[in-house]
């Protein structure tokens, strides 16, 4: 089974963001980058499937961006992906989801991937469109916001998160694409020996010009860093409703409760 995982490198969310010169995105200077959190769930799930299937599976991890995304790709390989593809594109952060999806689809098209994993969304742009657009462009089945996953080699059984805590179960025939949500799994830490060994795995670099054939369909008009907030959230009511509210927030907005 040929598996593809698409990952993005995003700034550490604890960073302070300020607009860049064009005022259309954030300034990258002084930011520390790491793998998008949702993509860590995608990598983990792909690696678990690879462990389940053994050498019958081969996992390629792909990222579009400048040189620094090599670090995220190496992390994914240290976690267990077999090989990496770096689509070299210094302007990746400025592209709209349509262009990003087109680049991925143009790489994946004809390469016979049976299953593609992406994060549910990126932590910085947060469009949640890339995964579904790739599936559409490739004409394969797709399910989003996965919190549960199983695969027997022919079908994927996907447990999806719907609104208000409701879950849905979907059965997809391969080839398919799934987007991964918080709660799907707990990503492993890469071990140090595996970090060192990842150096020896194949890392293919492809210039973006070879894959990009389409312009943007949506343009960012302006970018606003968050207003400085004076206070946090204030909950009101009696103890039992307060507890319910807190549990609801912890479940939906954090990884504290699952």
């Amino acid at each position: 089974m040929k598996i593809l995982v698409c990952i993005k490198q995003v700034p550490d969310l604890e960073s302070r963001f300020k607009p860049n010169g064009s005022k259309l995105w954030y300034d990258e200077a002084d930011l520390a980058f790491r793998m998008n959190e949702y993509d860590e769930y995608a990598v983990e799930q792909a690696v678990r499937l690879r462990e389940q299937l053994g050498d019958a599976a081969d996992v390629t991890v792909l990222s579009i961006g400048p040189d620094r995304v090599g670090e995220a790709l190496k992390k994914a390989m240290a976690m267990g992906c077999d090989r990496a593809v770096h689509i070299a594109d210094p302007d990746a952060l400025l592209r709209d989801p349509w262009q990003i999806a087109s680049i991925i689809a143009s790489f994946a098209g004809g390469r016979g991937f049976d299953l593609i994993f992406t994060g549910m969304q990126s932590q910085d742009r947060g469009s949640a469109q890339v995964g579904v657009l790739v599936a559409e462009l490739l004409g394969i089945s797709c399910s989003t916001t996965l919190v549960g996953f199983a695969c027997d080699g022919e079908y994927v059984i996907a447990k999806r998160e719907l609104e208000g805590g409701i879950k849905g179960v979907v059965k997809l025939r391969l080839p398919a694409l799934v987007t991964c949500q918080l709660g799907l799994n707990v990503p492993r830490y890469p071990t140090l020996p595996n970090i060192m060994k990842a150096k020896r795995k194949e890392l293919l670099v492809i210039p973006v010009a070879e894959l990009l054939a389409t312009g943007p369909v949506a343009a960012t008009v302006s970018f606003h860093p968050p207003m400085r907030k004076g206070s946090g959230m204030v909950l009101e009511g009696d103890v039992s409703t307060l507890v319910e509210q807190v549990i609801g927030i912890l479940k939906e907005k954090t990884a504290v409760l699952r």
Binding site: E71, K75, T191, L192, I195, M196, K199
Partner: protein, 385 residues
């Protein structure tokens, strides 16, 4: 010249930081206050499984083969969250490295993988005695050849990890007639050896989760194969290995200093007095500027020493400079951080109080600041005479 970490070093730093924040930070304050070491030992096991016990150890012995710079940055990240875990890591790595450097092939295969895998929770480095601290060559613990082995008698003091160590690297006098430092040998003693007694645990100012004990030898018999390196060549081994350990302790100090100043700086941007944030007062800005400048200098000294060691170049002077400066800077940073927090910094409700206690020992163990200055001066004066 390139002052950037490699992608692998950055990933190791990120992994150490992620682990420290998720697993060590939440239990650090509780471990500082309590006697139950269960979460501490559980985290050591997890860190071993991730490869943190043998960062500069060859893969064939179960190490990570990640190098000395990776060791330094990992130590700093771990120490930011839990100094007790960091010192255990530092000693474990040092024990693995000393065996790798001077052990026989059988000794390397027998012991290094057990420490690297976490099969042994820890290894101990047993050099200090009550009468031999800064001057370990004055030790009196003895090993006497007897039949097909040696019999050890004496006592070691301040031995990190002793109650849960699986292996002890022990120095003992094997030739009482030899000139000072020329009659000491090094032995690998397994936990549970008859006559090896774990003595009293010290009640310390800080780094509480890490045990520091007396170690007694009462006719402790070890086989001839326990001798590591050549007979009467042990002191040279100890001195050589401590230089590497100093990079570890300097990096540990840096981690505590950074934790303290990061906490205090964030606090200063939130706390108001006289109708403004206290970070607006120039008096405090200068404290912040000076502390971070010193910590950055410490980091660069550590990177320089680590780089030299990784390149196989002499690094003793550089390691002493880095250890001296980083641990003193860490203590100054903790003092400054307490000042920034005012009265709150003196209470246990804020972590700066713990950082301050944890940092204090760093200018003492693995060679006091005075001993580092002695080494540095000796190295410098050598080139003038």
């Amino acid at each position: 010249m390139d002052l950037d970490l490699t992608a692998e070093q950055k990933l190791i730093q990120e992994t150490a930081r992620d682990f420290a924040r998720a697993e060590l930070e939440p239990v650090a304050a509780q471990l500082d206050q309590g006697d139950d070491r269960t979460p501490f030992l559980a985290n050591l096991k997890k860190l071993a499984e991730l490869g943190f016990m043998g960062l500069n150890v060859k893969e064939c012995y179960g190490g990570s083969e990640a190098g000395v710079i990776a060791f330094s940055v990992a130590m700093t990240e771990i120490a930011r969250s839990c100094a007790s875990t960091a010192v255990t890591l530092s000693v474990n790595n040092m024990v693995c490295e000393v065996i790798q450097a001077v052990g026989s092939e059988e000794q390397k295969r027998a012991y290094i993988p057990r420490i690297c895998s976490g099969d042994y929770a820890a290894g101990s480095f047993a050099l200090t005695e009550s009468g031999a601290g800064s001057d370990p060559s004055g030790m009196t613990t003895q090993a006497v050849a007897d039949g097909d082995g040696f019999v050890l008698n004496g006592a070691k003091l301040f031995i990190t990890s002793a109650p849960y160590a699986g292996l002890f690297v022990v120095w003992a006098v094997t030739d009482r007639e030899a000139p000072k430092g020329k009659g000491i040998s090094c032995f690998l003693v397994e936990a549970g050896s008859p006559g090896l007694i774990i003595g009293r645990e010290e009640k310390k100012m800080g780094q509480h989760a890490s045990a520091t004990n007396e170690l007694l030898f009462d006719n402790c018999r070890v086989p001839a194969t326990a001798l590591m390196g050549r007979l009467n060549d042990g002191f040279r081994i100890a001195v050589g290995e401590l230089a590497g350990g100093r990079i570890g302790i300097g990096s540990l100090g840096l981690g505590i200093g950074l934790a303290a100043m990061e906490y205090a700086t964030r606090y200063a941007t939130q706390r108001s007095q006289f109708g403004q944030k206290i970070s607006g007062f120039q008096a405090l800005q200068w404290i912040i500027a000076d502390s971070f400048t010193e910590l950055e200098a410490a980091r660069l000294l550590l990177m320089n020493a680590a780089f030299k060691k990784e390149q196989g170049k002499p690094f003793g002077k550089e390691a002493s400079m880095a250890k001296l400066y980083a641990t003193e800077a860490a203590n100054r940073a903790c003092y400054a951080a307490t000042q920034l927090l005012g009265g709150y910094g003196y209470t246990r409700d804020f972590p700066v109080e713990r950082y301050t206690r944890d940092a204090r020992i760093c200018t003492i163990y693995e060679g006091t600041s005075e001993i580092q200055r002695l080494i540095i001066a000796r190295e410098i004066l050598r080139t003038f005479s």
